[in-house]
Subunit: 426 residues, 3 copies
């Protein structure tokens, strides 16, 4: 299944923080890589929160007196306020308007709105459509259900050579929006698929979470937070990663975690524009992962930051807003970062007194160009110079503005020559 | 008593490092807030120094042969070299000129000069007046006394909830000059009066010193330095704070003391031009407070730095050089700093695992504007995120470029909701 | 012997990493200051290396069929590939060309090339001369010897008051090239001569090494590295220091060693353009001195960095490329750095409670100008303020952007007045 196909399949589904939309989404993603569905009963306490009732919806509309559908859920699932309680009655125009949300500044856009923790019903519509509401009375129907049930979390796992884990997390609770949110689960799942194909080489184990935002990560942490605290060495929240803007990296709260160092190492090496943001306590699930009680090393590589582009949380964040090229490039960037983390170790130069004689060990290769020779020999020299037990490969790679992953061959050559030994993972 | 009245009352008094000028000044300031006068006998040793004799002066003049007063102390007390020994005799023009100080570059200004530790007499005059000295002989009279007596220090005190102290210090030893020095005691005394009105809320105790510069702070430290070393957590030398220039903050020698952090936090939040200087070993009484033996956390918030404006130490530093508006604003700035220090504590988030649910606690208020809501919710989020025992309120306030004092309401709300607990003062 | 004379005497000698060229060079330099010649037998192991055979050469040429010398070692010793094995035979044009190195981009320059560890023969010639090679056959003669023998290292030493050492190292293995290398041994030897003249004042002992690059420093470290590790507190590799470019300082690998701090302190104080480079693992003998096993505090003060100027490693790096003025100025700069290291101590203010009264100790001198007075009094004030056991003289000197050596008089005055005491060398 290709990127575009997958996006088109997922886009129309009406996801929310609970319900069948998530399950359907996870089923489709599972065609690429196996995702287990964990179900947590509604009504249980997860830290300071209670899992709310499960919400499902079949249909919704507003009809005028002539029976014309002025608003139709089947045209765009954003038309219904998320978690709306069921309703089916005639209402006056005045009452109806108090249940309608629009964006006066963006008259062509349907806003995205929800009311998870307060029982309400409502519709979200294009502001310009308000002029069609000329009758005194309307028939409103929301065929939804709010019942006891389950909150669903998707989980993938790859067992690597060690129990140390990299955590990738994305969210699957937004209805038809493309950059926020579909780019996230799509990039994460292609990354997951790629890493599965490299499974036998992986030093780290990998955990992939597909959660409803906020309540999902809180629920997962309430059950498995202690395990994560012990095992997770790096990780990212994957979101808003599908449009053509430059990359934005939001650091983990730790500020200099392996996640931060690897992401910045890779972004710098591209010699393209990018932004780095210190952690801040709003945004996505890093709010929970980085809360003081856990303080996991979780950053987030995005393109346009949530809340800063005008299409955000509207119907304009659709499949036209993102591009296949951007998504492919985002997948590759996450791969580069993961491979840099995989390459990052601390080595010890076994011959620390003066330089070793490279020539007699055949380590001066006859490479094609002077330029590739220089790059090779400088990598060798820096590896030998800084493999003193205090610097890891990322430290060394920074000296040449290269991603750590680009040192893999040279490290292996030096290990074979007996000049480097693995010290320990930082 | 208003600022202008107070300035006009204090300006004509002939102050020096000892004598009745200080006492009279302190009596007038005491009408605003109680200032105790401490008297230290002349001749006693204070660290490396001896308190010099007490100096008082009634009159001084230079008359020409016709009996015209060419220079008259009663016109401007800067005309007499501070600490001049008494004299009353006829002198030749040549001898007289060796006792006259002028500023050739500023012919209209009377320079300010003193000779505390070497017995001399002299006059300071406008350079342009030298042309009036056409006679061969002059009558010079300085009706001063240099006698055993006392050095006077003014001290105010407010008992707060704890023994931890904030030290405010200014000097009262300059004759008729406005920015350096009257702005200092005036701002300090209005600040003192304001804090008295808030007495019941104060966490810190406050000590206000009015010293003759250098010898006064040395004398006080010689007697009470050990107490200050134990109690003082922050403080400032208040000087050169009356003219309309941008603020200049000179850091304490520690360089990152609470004083420094609070002052810079407040100045940054104004989004106006200001200067920060690292500590340097010349200037005012911070030279003594920050000497290695004490190393108190004493900075200094000024406007134009001493020695850098042309009116400094001349008769042009008069009441026209300063403004009521600047002084009012300086008082408010010191208040903002003090209130930020008062607000600065370390709190612990009692719910550190994931975010607490604010809605169920009524912490999502219905505020008027979106902007004030955003400011409120961001303060709440940062307080919860960084109240981990390692960050104080100033650290948190810096994240939003707000003064720490602006977090008071949100802190109280979170404490009431049981989400924050006071940890300890840093 | 003056600089120019010395350069002209040393320039024609054919130096290599072993052989009589080094010995002759050291003999000439010894006329300025005593240099002992240490001889290490060929074939012994020094860490990862084997000292190669000793190489000496008497003559070399290429003749065409008419017996014309197309290339003549006696005209320029760069014409022979360093360490060429002896040869004396007729060769075809094709074979000859495979043994000739030229620089197509610089047709007038003879390149400098060597083959120390792989037995070869070759000639280096101006690219434009290739057009003279029109015959089919040539007579090639290299009258060299590669035999068991010795590697020679020159060593000078000045015993100072302590065993703490400053290490100066330069190299003497390049044939006729001026900036790289003759500027190095010339500057080092004049510095050595100067320090000898100050011997009785020196706190540190001084070691001056004249090594063949790489193999020489490795050999020395293999024998005396443990001594250096224990004694050396600062030092520099002196190279590429003769042309008129701004100074370039390459830091030691430690990055904030005494060497680095003193060199940067002095360079900053000149208020002229200069460059600072972090350490990197290519270049000269600092590669060995700073290898992890030793990590000596060795930096390098240069002018144009090796490898970055077009004359580097060609016959254009000749006596015209450097200047007497630049060399004199380089010597003075190294002297200023050494004297700043000599002046750098930690002192304790014996009167740490408030300022001492300078007047009663005669420490307010009657200096000529206001400017020199201000400089003097500020030095005194900073010395007293920061002599708290945590700051050394370089720290203090940085506050006034002066070299540490300029504080010598004021330190001595304060010591005499009993206000400073030596604490310990950092």
């Amino acid at each position: 299944m290709e990127i575009i196909q997958l996006l088109e399949k997922l886009f129309p589904i009406c996801r929310s923080i609970t319900g069948n939309g998530i399950r359907e989404t996870l089923n489709i993603l599972s065609e690429l890589a196996p995702i287990k569905q964990l179900e947590f009963p509604t009504g249980i306490q997860v830290f300071d929160w209670i899992i709310p009732k499960e919400w499902n919806i079949k249909d919704a509309y507003i009809k005028d007196k002539q029976g014309n559908k002025l608003v139709d859920f089947k045209e765009n699932n954003l038309h219904v306020l998320g978690y709306s309680v069921p309703i089916n009655k005639k209402v006056s125009k005045q009452e109806l308007l108090s249940h309608i949300i629009t964006l006066p500044d963006m008259p062509d856009a349907i806003p995205y709105a929800t009311s998870y923790y307060k029982e309400r019903w409502g519709f979200c519509i294009e502001h310009k459509k308000l002029e069609n509401f000329i009758d005194d009375e309307y028939e409103v129907c929301i065929d939804s259900k709010l019942e006891e049930g389950f909150l669903t979390i998707g989980e993938g796992y790859i067992q690597g050579k060690t129990e140390d884990e990299i955590l990738l997390s994305t969210y699957v609770c937004h209805p038809s929006m493309a950059n926020n949110e579909l780019s996230g689960p799509v990039v994460q799942t292609f990354l997951y698929k790629y890493l599965l194909s490299k499974k036998s080489d992986l030093n780290y184990s990998y955990r992939f979470l597909y959660v409803p935002e906020t309540i999902g990560s809180i629920t997962y942490l309430a059950h498995y937070g202690d395990v994560l605290k012990q095992k997770v060495k790096a990780g990212y929240v994957i979101t808003c990663i599908g449009n053509d803007a430059p990359f934005t990296y939001k650091k983990s709260k730790q500020g200099d975690s392996l996640s931060d160092r690897a992401a910045i190492n890779v972004l710098k090496s591209y010699n393209k524009e990018f932004n780095i943001l210190d952690w801040f306590p709003w945004g996505s699930d890093e709010r929970q992962y980085c809360s003081s009680g856990f303080n996991l090393p979780i950053g987030s590589l995005m393109r346009s930051l949530y809340g800063t582009y005008k299409e955000y949380h509207t119907s304009l964040d659709n499949l036209d807003f993102i591009s296949e090229q951007a998504i492919k490039n985002s997948i590759q960037t996450y791969i580069d970062i993961i491979e840099s983390i995989e390459t990052n170790e601390i080595y010890i130069n076994t011959n620390p007194h003066c330089e070793p004689q490279l020539g007699k060990r055949g380590l001066y290769p006859n490479l094609g160009s002077q330029k590739s020779y220089e790059s090779y020999i400088k990598k060798i020299q820096w590896l030998l110079a800084l493999s003193d037990g205090k610097h890891d490969v990322i430290d060394i790679a920074e000296k040449l503005n290269l991603p750590a992953k680009d040192f893999k061959d040279e490290i292996n050559k030096l290990i074979e020559a007996g000049l480097l030994e693995r010290y320990s993972r930082k």
